[in-house]
């Protein structure tokens, strides 16, 4: 058996591994869900949704802004400065070092970015959390960013759309991060009092203190298919409670079934749904096209065609 284990097996392994190396990482992506390979151009063309299994891959703020407003259709909002490292926190690494690493890797200041643009005829301010930045965790900077973006929406009389993706509060900021739950909630109340729609798009994953504050306080909750959304992490639940987790637990579809979100929307449809929803909420009356060609009152009340300007906007 020595010959088999010492000679044959390594050679077979070498052959197999050589095949693996032949896949250049920059051209092919592996779907984390079905593990099949996807050519990068196909993946981009498919809005980073796996063409095989429909898995919605995580995307960052820049990607969201571009797909919502078009390549040059948005104005990034400057994020205000927030206190850095209020606790002087250190675990195996300094928090300031972790922050710098994340900033270098993501080229972002922190885990939330915001931009303003138009969705059809409607002004929209959009805040997007970046899971790649320390797990999208919420510290003072994310809280500050959320509050200032919401206030910018109020200033512009714009709808406010928040894309959430977060592991929860940022431990390294201790109770300061906990207070961001209350702080962001105040911003939601201000939006509400200003009479502006606040739409939450829950993306994979949204958990912990973010779910338990502004992410669950939207006027309308939209979730991306398959997104994990919940309060406690699955590991915590399994360990502390020793309960068996049901299939699809904490997935977007599960939340829909349990009444926590209004709809699960495929990424291909997201922009149109947002535009339609915000349009209905912000513009309480629109003139439908060709009203005099068919004067029948029952048809006038239930028009099949949406207004022209909205249709045009949706086509770009």
């Amino acid at each position: 058996m020595n010959w088999l284990t010492n000679y044959v097996r390594p050679r077979i392994r070498a052959l197999v591994e050589r095949n693996k190396v032949e896949v250049p990482e920059n051209l092919w992506n592996q779907c984390p869900a079905c593990e099949r390979m996807i050519f990068h151009r196909d993946l981009e063309a498919n809005q980073r949704v796996c063409p095989h299994c429909n898995h919605h891959m995580r995307v960052g703020p820049g990607y969201r802004f571009r797909s919502l407003f078009g390549e040059d259709g948005y104005e990034p909002l400057a994020m205000p400065k927030a206190p850095v490292d209020p606790l002087k926190f250190r675990d195996l690494k300094r928090y300031t070092d972790r922050l710098k690493e994340a900033q270098t890797r993501t080229k972002a200041q922190d885990a939330l970015e915001a931009a303003a643009g138009m969705l059809g005829e409607m002004p929209v301010v959009c805040a997007v959390m970046n899971f790649a930045f320390m797990g999208g965790s919420m510290g003072a900077a994310v809280g500050e960013g959320f509050v200032s973006a919401a206030r910018e929406a109020i200033r512009r009389r714009a709808a406010f759309v928040a894309f959430t993706a977060s592991g929860g509060a940022r431990m390294q900021e201790g109770a300061v991060s906990l207070m961001q739950m209350a702080r962001t909630t105040v911003a939601v109340q201000e939006l509400r009092e200003a009479g502006l729609p606040y739409i939450v798009v829950l993306t994979d994953p949204t958990t912990g203190g973010v779910t338990a504050s502004f992410a669950m306080l939207g006027d309308i909750h939209i979730a991306e298919p398959g997104a994990v959304i919940g309060f406690a992490g699955t590991r915590v639940i399994e360990q502390t409670i020793r309960e068996k987790l049901p299939e699809g637990f904490q997935r977007a579809e599960y939340l829909l079934e349990h009444g926590m979100v209004d709809m699960v929307v495929h990424r291909f449809e997201l922009r149109n749904v947002l535009e339609r929803v915000i349009g209905i909420l912000l513009r309480s009356r629109v003139e439908y096209a060709e009203p005099e060609s068919d004067p029948a009152p029952e048809l006038a009340e239930e028009p099949a065609e949406p207004v022209t300007e909205l249709r045009e906007a949706a086509d770009d």
Binding site: P80, D91, G230
Partner: protein, 318 residues
């Protein structure tokens, strides 16, 4: 003392010796008074020294001490005519989060708080103070009730955190907490929160977003338990003591960070040694703040509360 913390053992040994000597003295003519006095003085000194410089991890243990006064003890000591109210009117009743109406020094109030329970059976019944969505929804209902009748809300925080479980998730644990925070921020009546033991993360802030947040001297208030933090950041739950220090979860830390308003001193050796003194001191502090808050208009109270939380973690305020 039924439960002895590790660092209390030397104190307990001295106290034990004093007791023995006293017994000896009772049954004989031996004059040990001087020795007893000397040992008592030593025990008292050791106790005050130990409690004057508790580490954050030791404070965590004190904050979780089962003999500390619980919600029920505060209600018994401070609230007359207490009338518990139950249920969220949509799913069920949750005894991890208790509430009811009563009178605090003659003033009608709404009282809310986590109850951990004391004996094993009792602890299970109260789910160790870990509330489920129906608990937070009951809190929202009771806060709204309080607002309609102009009752100030007094909340007592003592929870390891919100219950992490399948059913709780199913019924929207996150949403329930978010609504509770939102309701706290919306009230036009005074709300005073007191962290009496453990202020565990979202489950705590759900009731602790208040005009005044008081904390007992050895209570803790944290975004995550030291054990949980150690398991994630140190990849080793045994580093909890280190994590407790890094998290800045003591009352003194939170006051320095400007996140709470006042520390209520505990009797020497911690609240678990003198429950009645502790509840009385908390009552005094609440009364003082309530007098001040009651003077103010509801809208103004609410606006000030929002300003207070908007400033937390803002560059301008820090």
């Amino acid at each position: 003392m039924s439960v002895l913390l590790d660092f209390e053992k030397p104190i307990a040994e001295l106290e034990g010796k004093v007791k023995e000597l006293r017994l000896l003295m009772d049954g004989s003519d031996l004059d040990l008074a001087e020795e007893v006095q000397r040992l008592e003085a030593r025990a008292a000194k050791l106790l005050s020294q130990t409690y004057a410089k508790l580490t954050p991890w030791q404070k965590t243990q004190v904050a979780r001490h089962p003999d500390r006064p619980h919600f029920g003890d505060y209600v018994a000591a401070l609230i007359a005519d207490f009338t518990p109210l139950a249920g969220d009117r949509s799913f069920g009743e949750d005894t991890a989060l208790m509430g009811g109406i009563g009178r605090f020094r003659g003033r009608s109030v709404m009282v809310l708080g986590h109850e951990k329970g004391r004996e094993t059976e009792d602890r299970v019944r109260h789910n160790f103070g870990m509330a489920r969505p129906e608990g937070y929804r009951k809190a929202v209902r009771l806060m709204r009730l309080a607002e309609r009748f102009g009752l100030p809300v007094l909340s007592f925080i003592d929870t390891p955190g919100a219950h992490p479980g399948v059913r709780a998730e199913e019924r929207g644990q996150a949403e329930a907490i978010a609504r509770s925070i939102e309701t706290c921020l919306d009230l036009r009546v005074p709300i005073i929160a007191t962290v009496i033991g453990e202020g565990g993360s979202g489950g705590a802030i759900a009731l602790a977003t208040a005009d005044r947040v008081l904390m007992l001297e050895h209570a803790i208030y944290s975004v995550i338990s030291p054990e949980g933090c150690a398991a994630i950041l140190w990849r080793n739950a045994e580093k909890a003591a280190e994590a407790a220090g890094a998290l800045k979860l003591t009352a003194q830390d939170l006051l320095d960070l400007g996140l709470i308003d006042e520390i209520v001193p505990e009797p020497l050796g911690g609240a678990h040694r003198a429950g009645a003194t502790t509840t009385a001191r908390v009552g005094e502090a609440i009364a003082r703040h309530l007098r001040e808050l009651e003077e103010r208009d509801g809208g103004e109270l609410r606006a000030a509360r929002r300003r207070k939380y908007l400033a937390m973690g803002s560059e301008n305020a820090a």
